[in-house]
């Protein structure tokens, strides 16, 4: 596999590492019951860039991503050590409101999961639970979010239709619009294109290239070409450890670790 360097996303890939830091992860250990899923992770994730997380199945990619907006806490046997500093504060600090964390750090899942409501109500959901009721304000934000998610033209005439009637790729863009509606600073995506077809995948990648201008994006992907196409930096995980983190162009052309090289050249995983 030869990744196409010219398509790498970051506005200036060679300086990706010098950008501001969105997440400063320090000595992160994560356990599910007795089993340790992440080991001593230390990494600085840059702002306004797409960071790709790659690695074989079960190596802890999703676990890591879900630590960044405290989604893992919903699991009963989950335990975490270490710090994740976001906006100057450890998001796991006792006095941090988890609701606030999740509003500022949005998430899109592997399988599109629109609510069984109308297209409009899906996007308006996050605003409604914040108590926003004014119709014109809702209308505005819904339209803006659908436009940002590049799905407005396809759904503008049927906002009242059920979201579940959309195609898989449209549902996923709707989920992105839904996440954008609450105006997060970060978008976390867990293999957002693994359940949809190649054309829809292309549209979402295009969308991510657009969104990264205003958002910090962290994306788990199974697809190394995708990481090469859209990300500015890449983290390679293996068996719960962060093996290597660097600019995507460097990871794919001149990896610093033998195990990374084995993985990206397809000798493993």
């Amino acid at each position: 596999m030869t990744p196409d360097k010219t398509k790498a996303l970051s506005a200036d890939p060679t300086h990706a590492m010098e950008k501001d830091i969105a997440f400063k992860v320090e000595d992160l250990n994560v356990y599910y019951g007795e089993k340790q899923a992440l080991k001593k992770i230390k990494v600085d994730i840059p702002t306004h860039s797409v960071t790709a997380i790659i690695g074989p199945s079960g190596c802890g990619k999703s676990t890591f991503l879900r630590c960044l907006n405290r989604m893992n806490e919903l699991l009963p046997n989950f335990r975490i050590e270490g710090e994740i500093i976001f906006d100057g504060q450890n998001i796991y600090d006792k006095n941090v409101d988890v609701i606030d964390v999740r509003q500022r750090i949005g998430m899109v899942f592997q399988k599109p999961n629109p609510f069984p409501k109308s297209i409009y109500e899906n996007v308006a959901y996050g605003l409604r639970i914040q108590g926003i009721k004014k119709r014109d304000l809702l209308d505005n934000i819904v339209e803006m979010s659908l436009k940002k998610a590049a799905i407005w033209d396809e759904v503008k005439d049927r906002l009242a239709h059920p979201a579940l009637a959309l195609s898989g790729g449209q549902q996923q863009r709707l989920c992105i619009a839904r996440a954008l509606a609450v105006e997060p600073e970060v978008l976390l995506l867990d293999e957002p294109t693994s359940a949809i077809d190649p054309i829809a995948t292309g549209r979402i990648e295009e969308l991510l290239r657009e969104l990264v201008k205003s958002y910090t994006i962290v994306m788990v992907t199974h697809n190394m070409q995708q990481a090469a196409r859209v990300s500015g930096s890449t983290a390679y995980f293996l068996l719960g450890e962060l093996i290597e983190f660097d600019e995507t162009s460097k990871i794919f052309t001149n990896p610093g670790d033998r195990r990374t090289e084995d993985y990206i050249t397809g000798r493993f995983g």
């Binding site: 989604m71 999740r102 998430m107 999961n113």
Partner: protein, 295 residues
């Protein structure tokens, strides 16, 4: 080689078909008997009288055959029961499905379901000799027999029907949908009421309708505690009689077969059957209308 096996398969198939046929035939038989006797009844009593007369006194010398008093009794006790069972059942379901830990759920759910396993005659006397006197302390005008007390007790009995089926429906909502809610900054209550509940809507409505059917059909509790006095009223504090209680009252007496008194049971039973039949159809339509497709 495969002959004996095919033969066994065939036998099983026929056996299963015959069992299914048997239950269909039994149902048809019941409806047939109901229809036959009901037709006999309407040869004596005009349908219009049956539907509009405001008195039901077939066992008295001055006979009236208006079904409305019995229907008002059924309506009253059912409404009271559902006013108890819907909120309590739904809240229990939300608690069990969205809040309780797995351990709490495995303990609480069977306990709740025991409520549905208590013989209704026990509930009946519970209403008559415990709940009614208790209510009389708060409501001075309450008769010894009334719709309120058996209605409330019936509601308690129906709580597990509503909670158990609603909880099953809510439990079946995909975890991914709930995560979608949490990821947008929802609280648990918001996820429960605004993501899970709408997604489980058809199941929840079915549980409501099943609860209503159960209340409409309930006999023993109302026969014991509501008074056996047909009365066209919506006052929950006075003695009334439900359709079912009337049927059991006549069945327990020594009414000779073929008389008009005897046929009233079937006319009342037919009305009840039509009512629950309509409820079932409504439930089916709602389920079809609101079924959400998850793959």
């Amino acid at each position: 080689m495969t002959k004996p096996r095919q033969w066994i398969e065939r036998t099983i198939e026929v056996g299963l078909f015959l069992s299914a046929l048997l239950s269909v035939l039994v149902t048809l038989g019941i409806v047939g008997v109901l229809l036959f006797e009901t037709v006999g009844f309407f040869k004596t009593v005009p349908l219009l009288d049956f539907l509009t007369d405001t008195e039901w006194t077939p066992l008295f010398s001055e006979k009236h055959y208006g079904i409305l008093p019995l229907f008002s009794g059924t309506f009253l006790t059912t409404s009271i029961a559902m006013a108890v069972a819907l909120p309590v059942g739904l809240i229990s379901a939300i608690y069990l499905s969205e809040y309780a830990s797995r351990r709490v759920r495995t303990i609480l759910k069977p306990i709740l379901e025991i409520l549905a396993a208590i013989p209704t005659v026990v509930y009946g006397y519970f209403a008559l000799i415990f709940v009614t006197p208790l209510l009389q302390k708060v409501i001075p005008g309450l008769s010894g027999f009334n719709a309120l007390s058996p209605g409330i007790v019936m509601g308690i009995m129906i709580v597990p029907i509503v909670s158990s089926l609603s909880e099953d429906a809510m439990h079946a909502v995909p975890a991914g949908l709930k995560e979608g809610g949490y990821a947008l900054g929802s609280t648990r209550l918001q996820v429960a009421t605004q993501v899970v509940l709408p997604a489980a809507f058809s199941g929840v409505v079915s549980s409501f309708i099943l609860g209503i059917s159960r209340a409409v059909g309930e006999t023993m509790i109302v026969a014991i505690a509501a008074g056996l006095q047909p009365r066209l009223t919506l006052n929950p504090l006075v003695p009334i009689e439900t359709v079912t209680a009337y049927i059991v009252q006549v069945s327990m007496g020594d009414t000779p077969t073929g008389t008009i008194e005897y046929q009233t049971i079937f006319a009342a039973g037919m009305s009840l059957f039509l009512l629950t039949f309509v409820l079932n159809i409504v439930s089916y339509l709602l389920r079809k209308r609101f079924r959400e497709v998850y793959d």
